[in-house]
Amino acid sequence: MSADGRTVVGNDQRGSGTFEVRTLGRDALVLPTVATSAWRDITIAPPPALRLPVTLMPPAVRSVDVVPGWPRVQSHFFGRPATPPLPVPGRPVAPRPPTQPRTGGRRTRIGPPRDVVKPSERFFYLLQPDLDTMLRGCRLGFPRKPFPFQLEGMAFLLPRHAAVLADEMGLGKSMQAISSIRLLVRSGEAPRVLIVCPKGLVSNWARELADWAPELCVAVIDGDPGRRRWQWMLPDVPVKLANYEVLVRDRDLVAELGLAFDLVVLDEAQRIKNKSSQTNQAVVSLARGRSWALTGTPIENSSDDLVGLFEFVDPGQISDRMPPKAMGEAVKDHILRRTKDKVLTEMPPRLDRDAQIELGPEQRETYRQAEEKGVLRLAGMGRQATIQHVFELVLRLKQICNFDTATGESAKLERLTAELEEVQASGRKAIVFSQWVETLRRLREKLAPFGALEYHGGMSTKARDEAIRKFKECREHSVLLLSYGAGAVGLNLQFSQYVFLFDRWWNPAIEDQAINRAHRIGAVGAVTVTRFLSTDTIEERIDEVLRQKRDLSEAILSQADGPTSAGLTAEELFQLFELPVPQRTAA
């Protein structure tokens, strides 16, 4: 069609006529105005012209981005880790793990600590294999299969530079620490480790290390100064083991030698709760990369205990001016605490009972006279009475509750003897705690038929180890008599089914520690705990105070508001005898 329009004449397709179409250019089309057909001579009337617009307006174009843009990619490179070194030749190797990795099921993973904020570092932890796979990779086996919560404890410790493992006693804190140390040593992350523990537990730790990490070389730091200097300097010994007293003595030597550790582990770390103590200052002064504290009682008496502990773990993290709730929030990511009832549902039950002991007539009379005399003396002293005077009276009365100082009569001993007969008859074992070595000695004498053995601070380490060995291995020794001071921590006596608290300690946490020597992992049956309590005596009154103290630790650790102190205060001591508190003492 031309722009100016034209007429087109065409033939009918069938060749029987013609038609004419006239156009009017691009803008209009005129339909046929004349159409004749020769075929059958029919003339069709021309239709009226119809004008139709044909201009095509360009449509609006909408572009759709159908190709999604290339996404931005974030990359993190971790480097090829060193191949785990083989165990040291000549050292025994713990059993290897099963040959096939676990498929499915719950895996224990290492999560990034809260204070790790750099994405690369967080991804590094998140992308590590689960603990089972890591242990397999390092070819590390265990003498006994760890509980899932113990693997979780390791997953907690491994990524942390500041950590407090505050599991209840008996849950295997040392095993979790040793297994974590193994992984860090084998991976090359911590080739220099120092473990510090109470003196009485050094041999226990050495045994545990040999049991759970037989391939690790361990140097026990002891002996005279020259020997210790040599031991501190020993190269190629990944783990050094020292007691707190040695560390305090060698503080300057360690500094002089310029020793630095990749990891320092404190066992029974409540030892450093006093910030101003030499022990605290000695451990705080150690040059170290990681600081781990193991304690079943991070808070024994007041929240200040935790402040002292964190002077080592993470200095500056908390202060003694913080309210308990804020303190709990600040330490939350650094503390892991599990209790037996939460994690060991399959553990044998612990049966607690209070044995109400009625003093015999003579013992009662001796007690009555001593109390009356003591109270009258204190009252007579008036403002001159000190907490020391009250304390002396308490101790004296408690001793009378154990044994009548005049006649040697002991209602508690009678009850204990009766109980032990049953224990012995059933072929089981019992441990008995007292706060006095003198009481233990008298008990040993009286309980000779049961093969009673002693274990207290008045004995040499060798003698104590021998007592433990005999108690464990010899059937004729049914009873072990322990002092709270020496026997409440670190010992594994899970083969004992009975615990007797012949007298009560001042702090419930210590009593729990003592009980957990028997009620711990590996316990083969229910553990029965008997607390002897002489009725209508000072023991009952102290028991009431102790009950009120019991919840303090949990209050802080669960970030709840709670009392800031649970120690037996001067006021509480005076009130045991319903005495007014002298003004200067209370202040």
Partner: protein, 173 residues
């Protein structure tokens, strides 16, 4: 990127490629390269890709191939430095990455508890079933040998859990 296949089996690297669909952010891709003990060597993740309704309509059946294979998978592999002997994925769509890489690709899935047998070209390794991409079927024997090294240390389905945990973290960062 050169595929490594010779030498010490302990020096081999393995790639794990998967995606995480977030209803809020879109599709995240993650690529983890591990050593023969399953320890991480590299990790790459994409920013989320959100697909519009129009794109879904216009790409139709080819969307998966383009999005997973080229856009996400291709972008991730382009950033990798370590040469994996094989890239494992737990997502059928991710097999579309094969035309965009010279590396072998295989789909891995947990062994069927119902006892469903192995499909053609599939092989089983430590509780996981591996199906090489059609282009890599001829290398099945090699793949089985290399992956057996890894499977002796790691459950082959496990690294995907790590990637998802990391992608989950990435959504929060």
């Amino acid at each position: 990127m050169q595929q490594q296949a010779d030498g010490d089996p302990a020096g081999l690297s393995f790639g794990f490629l998967t995606t995480l669909e977030s209803p809020v952010h879109g599709l995240f891709g993650g690529y983890l390269v591990v050593d023969s003990l399953g320890r991480p060597l590299e990790f790459h993740c994409t920013a989320p890709v959100k697909i519009s309704r129009a794109q879904q309509i216009l790409y139709g059946a080819s969307l998966d191939s383009h999005l997973h294979g080229q856009q996400v998978g291709g972008a991730l592999l382009a950033e990798a430095k370590a040469a994996a002997v094989v890239i494992l994925t737990d997502s059928e769509q991710m097999l579309h990455v094969r035309p965009h890489t010279s590396l072998s690709v295989a789909l891995v899935r947990r062994e069927d508890v119902s006892g469903r047998g192995l499909g053609v070209e599939e092989f089983s390794l430590g509780g996981a079933i591996v199906r090489p991409h059609a282009d890599d079927v001829s290398r099945s024997a090699d793949l089985a040998t290399w992956l057996a090294t890894l499977a002796s240390a790691v459950d082959l389905c496990e690294p995907f859990e790590r990637i998802r945990a990391a992608l989950d973290e990435a959504t929060r960062l």
